[in-house]
Symmetry: C2
Amino acid sequence: MLPQPVKKMGKQTLQFAEPPVILSMASIVGPMEGKGPFGKAFDYVMEDTLFGEKSWEKAESKMLRESILRAIRKAQLTPADIDFMFAGDLLNQIVAANFAAREINIPFLGLYGACSTMVEGMALAAVMIDGGFAHRVAVGASSHHNSAERQYRKPTEQGTQRVLWAQWTVTGAGCALLVKEGSGPVVTHCTIGQVQDLGMKDANDMGSGMAPAAADTLIRHFQDLGRQPSDYDLILSGDLGSVGLNITKELLGFEGYDVKENMTDSGVKIYSPEQDAHAGGSGCGCVATLLCGPILRRMAEGVYQRILVVGTGALLSPLSTQQGESVPAIAHAVVIEARP
Amino acid sequence: MLPQPVKKMGKQTLQFAEPPVILSMASIVGPMEGKGPFGKAFDYVMEDTLFGEKSWEKAESKMLRESILRAIRKAQLTPADIDFMFAGDLLNQIVAANFAAREINIPFLGLYGACSTMVEGMALAAVMIDGGFAHRVAVGASSHHNSAERQYRKPTEQGTQRVLWAQWTVTGAGCALLVKEGSGPVVTHCTIGQVQDLGMKDANDMGSGMAPAAADTLIRHFQDLGRQPSDYDLILSGDLGSVGLNITKELLGFEGYDVKENMTDSGVKIYSPEQDAHAGGSGCGCVATLLCGPILRRMAEGVYQRILVVGTGALLSPLSTQQGESVPAIAHAVVIEARP
């Protein structure tokens, strides 16, 4: 038997020896997200869902591109200063990310983790930096309500009534720039998830599908590090929505982890109840914009000292559902700590 | 200015301090690939394209799952011994990989690099191992002619005539198991590509679309390491096909790199001329099966001492083509050296 890898803790968690710094971040959202409770905490709110483009897919790619460029500019850097870029989205063949990468001259690694993509990318960026392979890595993810709706569900023109446990795909893109040295919060750990599938087959009920994956990754995280939920000022999931968040809290409770006080979900928070998003927001852009907007801002203001962000992804496709498959899901987590 | 990261050479190339070992590999192919010139060098040839499943998509996922499990078994290990798994494929939302990962209990990181996915995964696996984050990482990729054809092009029942510069998506899956210590060839370097797009809009002409990306990554690689093509016994591209390979050789020639003698392409080699695959094979499974079958076998037999494998991906989607976009492409490379 080999000894444990030096930077691996327990079964699924990595500990960074020199925690990479989140030097800057940017978030761009759609009009509906701009009218939500955190509207003022995003960098830019689009006037409409097309962002000057001819299609929603092109608008999504532009959001992602602009959020990456904005994060780089905020750090007073240029793309030539960035070693690598991780990005992904929900569109078939992640074309939002691919076409964004075409316009930005940075070596590019495409990811698909459904709505866990932002956290997957932050974990891999931290691995590259702490491993000595890069100094600066940009991580971006996006989703767009209209492009997602017509790809995954129905033509938007059809105006199909949504079930009350359905979620609303967030229109937004976020980017975090991770660097080896600098001033800002740091990524101290990540926990890489395993796929979970309890046989749930309702493709409208992503929250129930993803809850077992969120719970599994959080339990692994606590076990791997010997930590408790109370070690975190905030545990923020990606897009479980109200249904999935409640199930996750219950599942954690069964295992003796009490997260009632300090766990919430980006999808639950991003819209106000009056906006009638049913079970809440979803999509890669949900946690990407909330983290790279209001949450990291609050961290800078001293509201949070240490947070645990768990990105959640439903790994289905419309075709897998048509072929009778259930909904596999995954969750990846990162720990972010404020540094004075 | 920060000094260069310690393991980065030049602009896009990483050098592994303790090169990870390819401890084992596995390849599973379809009947047509089994009848090709390398048929006997793959681990398993499927009797038909369904592999006992009810759909081609499920067959593809099973190929990928079985190739990963087979590579792990060959090393006399179990999934519990593997730290992480990278995988991806061409299906929407990479469902072949997601559903394979559901059946294998290994922490999973999903990738999308189109047909460059296998090489992207090997680069990231080597980063995790050499960075001290993992001892053993499995990397897999797959494609299936029939599932790709009906997703990207036409219903297979339609029997549409293919243009002569079109390629034939390989039915196959390959897996390489990279480890920190052991016996086998080693991954010494990787070069991460930038997206290239010269405006080519014919979605049937993937070879021409990918050639500029292949040439760009190879030139960067030679420049970053101060090497020449003659430093490699073999330069193997992923799926440029005959059209793309010729263009790539010309582009490299313009820059003073002569690869006439030692460069070939997996797509050119995987079928015999009598099989009438037009411009050759393509798909994530093309380089994955050729590398994890005949090429690494030959390396073990001493035929090659040092090879450069450049995976090539066309980053389009059917929708991006419908919306009038050209074909962006990317290429990632890894250097593999035989060790006594």
